[in-house]
């Protein structure tokens, strides 16, 4: 059973630029990702928005495997700040999981 944590998005959101909710799940990012990351960004953004913390934590390696190369972002039709959002996810892991 998935336990939802509704305030997860507030914990992840580093600043106003976090706009994962603008994603319309079209899949351009997945198709174009040079690292062929299946879950990032679309699915992992959904986990954050829906409060699915356990699912987010299971994808730590995916979050840190992103090249931040912006190939997806410059081709995103919804204007999602994908690289900024990924950095916010990393900041969340740094503080809440790694306790840096």
């Amino acid at each position: 059973m998935t336990v939802l944590q509704p305030n997860l998005v507030d914990e992840v959101r580093a600043d106003e630029s976090f706009n994962a909710s603008a994603c319309m799940n079209c899949g351009v990012c997945t198709a174009i990702c040079p690292m062929e990351l299946e879950h990032l960004p679309r699915e992992i953004f959904r986990y954050v928005l829906l409060g699915m913390k356990e699912e987010l934590l299971q994808h730590q390696e995916t979050v840190f495997s992103c090249l931040l190369c912006k190939m997806c972002e410059v081709n995103c039709p919804a204007g999602v700040h994908i690289t900024e959002n990924v950095r916010s996810l990393r900041h969340y892991f740094d503080r809440k999981v790694f306790r840096i």
Partner: protein
């Protein structure tokens, strides 16, 4: 097995906070490139290296050591290593690049300084106060450490009376031009990359080069900073015939470098893919970022040779 992500980021963030760089290097390695150039200390305009090229020989050695550790029983002790690193700079014991290797990377900032002089640009250098920009900490989400470090860099620039910096690599350019203004109130440093400065100068080459070269755009230049036309203008102006790989310009393909510190094998696979694209169009490749250079050359082995763009430009434009 990769090293534990949290401990690796922790060590890098601790280094930035305690030692002003994710990978501290000796002062003599940081400033060796200035030898004989007779550059003034500070001034309104400075050539700012951000230590990126000087760091590469140390990064190469550290990555090799990390890979060995990751495959050994020592991987389980990185948490302990982080505690020791707070007192002693652990990387100083792990990386001892050869003199030849160090000097080969000092060549790039020297190239750039000589090219700027040729273009008639007046500038100084910050020597031991030329600090790392914090780019890796930014990428890894270490926001608090980055903000503290950015304040130190800005205070240092102000202390030396700097109003404009001319950068060399794409990462330092992006940090100082696009990221710092989002972190620091009142940040007012003008930032231009040397390729932009040289392109504006419209220099005429003293020696025309010939031959074909495959161009590799840096992701950060192409998609973060909009620098794609200037390297082409300069290389074609030098006489070279540019060959564009399948992914080029704003659609360039990453070299894999950004994940090198955490997942070297993934970085190597990405570099391999990019080398194949460049090798399909030319026998030589040109890079404009030290991370791209080292990742692509390592993957290419002897298949094709990569050179930094400043090597070509110096051959063509230096008096």
């Amino acid at each position: 097995m990769p090293l534990p992500t949290g401990d690796t980021i922790g060590i890098l963030a601790d280094n930035l906070r305690l030692r002003r760089s994710v990978l501290p290097i000796p002062v003599e390695s940081a400033i060796r490139w200035t030898k004989g150039l007779d550059l003034p200390h500070g001034g309104e305009r400075v050539l700012y290296t951000g230590l990126m090229y000087q760091l590469i020989p140390y990064i190469e050695e550290l990555v090799a050591a990390q890979q060995k550790m990751g495959e050994s029983w020592m991987a389980g002790f990185t948490g302990f290593g982080r505690q020791i690193n707070k007192i002693l700079n652990v990387s100083a014991f792990m990386a001892h690049p050869s003199r030849d290797k160090l000097e080969s990377f000092d060549r790039v900032p020297r190239n750039v300084a000589l090219l700027l002089k040729r273009a008639g640009i007046e500038f100084g250098a910050l020597y031991e106060d030329d600090l790392y920009s914090g780019a890796l900490a930014y990428d890894l989400g270490a926001d608090e450490e980055l903000k503290e470090h950015a304040s130190k860099v800005y205070a240092t620039l102000k202390k030396h009376g700097v109003k404009e910096v001319v950068t060399i690599d794409p990462h330092t350019t992006n940090m100082l031009r696009s990221v710092y203004p989002t972190l620091l109130d009142g940040y007012d440093i003008k930032v231009r990359n040397y390729l932009e400065v040289l392109a504006e100068a419209e220099m005429v080459p003293n020696h025309r080069l010939d031959g074909e070269v495959g161009i590799h755009d840096s992701c950060v230049f192409a998609r973060y900073e909009g620098v794609t036309a200037q390297p082409r203008q300069l290389l074609e102006g030098a006489g070279l015939s540019l060959r564009e790989p399948e992914h080029a310009g704003t659609m360039t393909l990453c070299c894999g470098g950004p994940v090198e510190s955490l997942y070297p094998q993934k970085a190597a696979a990405q570099a391999e893919r990019r080398v194949a694209e460049i090798a399909a169009v030319a026998e030589r490749g040109v890079t404009m970022c030290p991370l791209c250079y080292v990742n692509l050359q390592k993957a290419a082995k002897d298949r094709i040779r990569f050179d930094d763009i400043s090597d070509y430009l110096r051959q063509a434009y230096e008096a």
